[in-house]
C-alpha cells in the first residue's frame, strides 16, 4: 500500500481476505474430514441445499409470509409510533398522562410480551404481526419524540405569527423539522421489526411458512446446511431493508441543505 492511494477505496480487496480465508479453512477441514461433517457441513452441501430450496415453492412462500408479517407489523407500528411521538412532544398534558406509562412499559424486555400475546391472540399471524408492530413502535416513538422536541423555537414562533392551523403545524413545521430523527427511528424500527419477525417465528412456532420456520425446521432435523441457508436468506433480506431505508432516507432528506 502506497500512501498515494485513497484511504478508503470503494472496492478494497483486503475486505475479501477474511471471508476467503474462512471459506478456505472451512472447505479444507471438511474436505479432509478433520471435523464431524454432520456438525460442520461442507460449503458445497450448503450450496446444494440452497439450490434445491430455491427451486421449491415452499421457500418463496416462506419469504413472502415473513415479509408480509414484517411489513404489516412495521407499518402499523411506525404509524402509531409517529403519532404517539408527535403527541408526546407537542402536548405537555399527553406527556404527563401517557409518558410515565409508556416509559415504564418500555422497560419490559420485548420478547417478554410473546408468551402473554401467544396466550391471548394465539400463535397465528395475528399475534406475530402485533408483536412486530410493538417492536417497531418503541424506537419510532422515542426518535419522533426527540425530533419534535428539537423543533426550533424560532420556527414555532413564525408558525404562530402566521396563524398556522393544527394540520399546518403538523405538516409544515413538525414533520419537516423532525424528519431526520423520524427517519432514523424508522430505520431502527425496520431493523427491530425484522428481528421481531424472526424471533416471533422462532418462539410462536405454528407449522406455517416463514424464514424463521425454515431455520427451526433445519435445527429439529439437524440439518446444519438448512440453518445456514436460512441465516443467509435472513441476513440478505435484513441487509436489503437496510439499504432500502438508507436510500429512502437520502432521497427524502435531499431537500435539506447540506450542513457543510
Amino acid at each position: 500500500m502506497t500512501t498515494s492511494s485513497p484511504p478508503e477505496a470503494r472496492w478494497d480487496l483486503r475486505a475479501f481476505a477474511l471471508p476467503a480465508l474462512i471459506l478456505l479453512a472451512w472447505s479444507a477441514v471438511t474436505w479432509l474430514q478433520l471435523v464431524d461433517t454432520k456438525v460442520i457441513v461442507p460449503p458445497w452441501k450448503v450450496i446444494d441445499t440452497a439450490l434445491s430450496e430455491l427451486g421449491r415453492s415452499d421457500f418463496y412462500m416462506g419469504v413472502v409470509m415473513s415479509l408480509w408479517r414484517d411489513l404489516a407489523g412495521f407499518s402499523l407500528g411506525a404509524v402509531a409510533g409517529i403519532a404517539l411521538g408527535v403527541l408526546l412532544g407537542v402536548s405537555s398534558l399527553a406527556a404527563l398522562l401517557i409518558g410515565p406509562t409508556f416509559h415504564t412499559l418500555r422497560q419490559i424486555s420485548l420478547f417478554a410480551w410473546l408468551p402473554l400475546l401467544g396466550a391471548v391472540a394465539g400463535s397465528g399471524n395475528l399475534s406475530k404481526i402485533i408483536f412486530v408492530a410493538f417492536s417497531t413502535f418503541y424506537p419510532v416513538v422515542l426518535a419522533t419524540l426527540a425530533g419534535v422536541q428539537g423543533v426550533s423555537q424560532a420556527h414555532a414562533e413564525v408558525a404562530r405569527v402566521y396563524g398556522f392551523t393544527h394540520s399546518q403545524i403538523f405538516w409544515r413545521l413538525i414533520l419537516p423539522s423532525a424528519s431526520p430523527q423520524i427517519l432514523s427511528g424508522i430505520k431502527l424500527g425496520l431493523i427491530y421489526a425484522w428481528l421481531a419477525t424472526i424471533g416471533a417465528e422462532f418462539l410462536l412456532y405454528d407449522f406455517s411458512n416463514g424464514l424463521g420456520m425454515i431455520v427451526i425446521r433445519g435445527r429439529s432435523a439437524f440439518r446444519v446446511e438448512l440453518i445456514l441457508f436460512g441465516l443467509l436468506a435472513i441476513g440478505l433480506i435484513g441487509y436489503g431493508f437496510n439499504r432500502l431505508a438508507e436510500a429512502a432516507e437520502r432521497r427524502l432528506l435531499r431537500w435539506r441543505a447540506p450542513a457543510c
Binding site: P7, L114, R219
Partner: protein, 288 residues
C-alpha cells in the same frame, strides 16, 4: 405551608414561581411548589395505568376473555405475593443476571477490543470491518439455532448468544465514536508532538467517553433483550424459562408476574445506567 402545594394542584393555572418573600421562607415555598408539581405530575401519570387496570379488571369481571387466558388483576397480585413470599423467583432472577453479567464482560470486552482496534488502525478496519458488518446483518437471535448445533442447549449457548448480542452494538458504537473524533483535536495533538500513548490517553479516550457510555447502554439493553429470548427458547432456569414454563402449564398469572418482574429489572437497569452516566459525563458540561 402545604397550602401552596395544594393550591397548585387545585388550580393548575397558578404558578408559584416568584413568591414575594425572601430568605428561607422563599426556599421553603419553592420546595413546596416543586413538591406540589411533582405530586401533580405523579397523579396525572397514574391516570392511564389506573384506567388500564380498570379495563383489565372489568374484562376479567365480565369474563370478556376467559380467566384461563387473562386472569383477574387480584389473582395476579395474589400470585405475585405468593412468589415473592416463597422466594421462588430470586434464583431465576439471579441466573438471568449472571448471564447478563458474564456476557457483558465477554461480549463487551470483545466489542471494545474490536471497536478500538478497527477505529485506530485502518489496516485492521480494511481487513475485518466488511466481514463483520456483513455478519451483523443477521439479527443476533437468528444465529441461535446455529449456536445450538455448535454449543448445545446448555450454559455455553446462552453466554455465546448474549455475548454476541452485546459485542455487535458495542463494536459499531465504538467505531463510530472514534471515527467522529474531530480532526482538529487530532491535529492539535500532532502539533504538540503527542506520542501515540498520549494521543490515546489525552484525546481518544476522553473524546470517545460518550460513545463508551452509549455502547454500554446499548450493550446492556441488547443483553437483557437477548437473555430473555434465549431463556424462552431453551433453558432450565432464568426468568425467561420461568415464563415459558408457566405458559406451558397454562399459568398465565405467573406469566404476567414474570413480565412485571422483567419490567422491574429493566427499570433498575435504567436507573443504574443513569447513575453511572451522570458523574462521569459531568465534566463535559463545563464547556457550555
Amino acid at each position: 405551608m402545604s397550602a401552596s402545594a395544594h393550591d397548585s394542584q387545585v388550580f393548575p393555572g397558578i404558578t408559584l414561581n416568584t413568591p414575594p418573600w425572601s430568605g428561607t421562607s422563599r426556599h421553603l415555598a419553592d420546595a413546596c411548589a416543586t413538591l406540589g408539581r411533582l405530586l401533580r405530575v405523579a397523579l396525572v401519570g397514574l391516570v392511564l395505568p389506573a384506567l388500564l387496570l380498570g379495563l383489565w379488571w372489568l374484562t376479567a369481571q365480565r369474563a370478556w376473555i376467559a380467566p384461563q387466558i387473562l386472569p383477574s388483576p387480584a389473582f395476579v397480585w395474589e400470585s405475585l405475593c405468593i412468589v415473592l413470599d416463597s422466594g421462588e423467583l430470586w434464583p431465576h432472577i439471579g441466573h438471568s443476571a449472571r448471564r447478563v453479567g458474564w456476557s457483558l464482560l465477554l461480549g463487551g470486552g470483545a466489542g471494545l477490543v474490536l471497536g478500538f482496534g478497527m477505529g485506530l488502525s485502518s489496516t485492521l478496519r480494511a481487513y475485518l470491518l466488511p466481514t463483520l458488518r456483513a455478519l451483523a446483518q443477521v439479527p443476533v437471535i437468528g444465529w441461535i439455532p446455529l449456536l445450538i448445533i455448535f454449543a448445545g442447549i446448555e450454559e455455553p449457548l446462552k453466554l455465546w448468544a448474549v455475548s454476541l448480542a452485546v459485542a455487535v452494538p458495542v463494536m459499531l458504537t465504538m467505531l463510530d465514536g472514534i471515527a467522529n473524533i474531530s480532526t482538529t483535536l487530532l491535529e492539535v495533538g500532532r502539533v504538540y508532538c503527542f506520542s501515540p500513548v498520549q494521543i490515546l490517553r489525552r484525546i481518544v479516550l476522553p473524546a470517545t467517553l460518550p460513545s463508551l457510555f452509549s455502547a454500554l447502554r446499548q450493550g446492556v439493553m441488547q443483553a437483557w433483550l437477548t437473555v430473555i429470548f434465549v431463556e424462552l427458547l431453551s433453558a432450565s432456569d432464568g426468568l425467561g424459562f420461568f415464563m415459558a414454563y408457566s405458559r406451558s402449564l397454562g399459568q398465565i398469572d405467573m406469566v404476567i408476574v414474570s413480565m412485571a418482574v422483567i419490567g422491574a429489572v429493566g427499570i433498575l437497569i435504567e436507573v443504574l445506567l443513569r447513575l453511572i452516566e451522570r458523574p462521569l459525563q459531568s465534566w463535559r458540561r463545563a464547556a457550555f
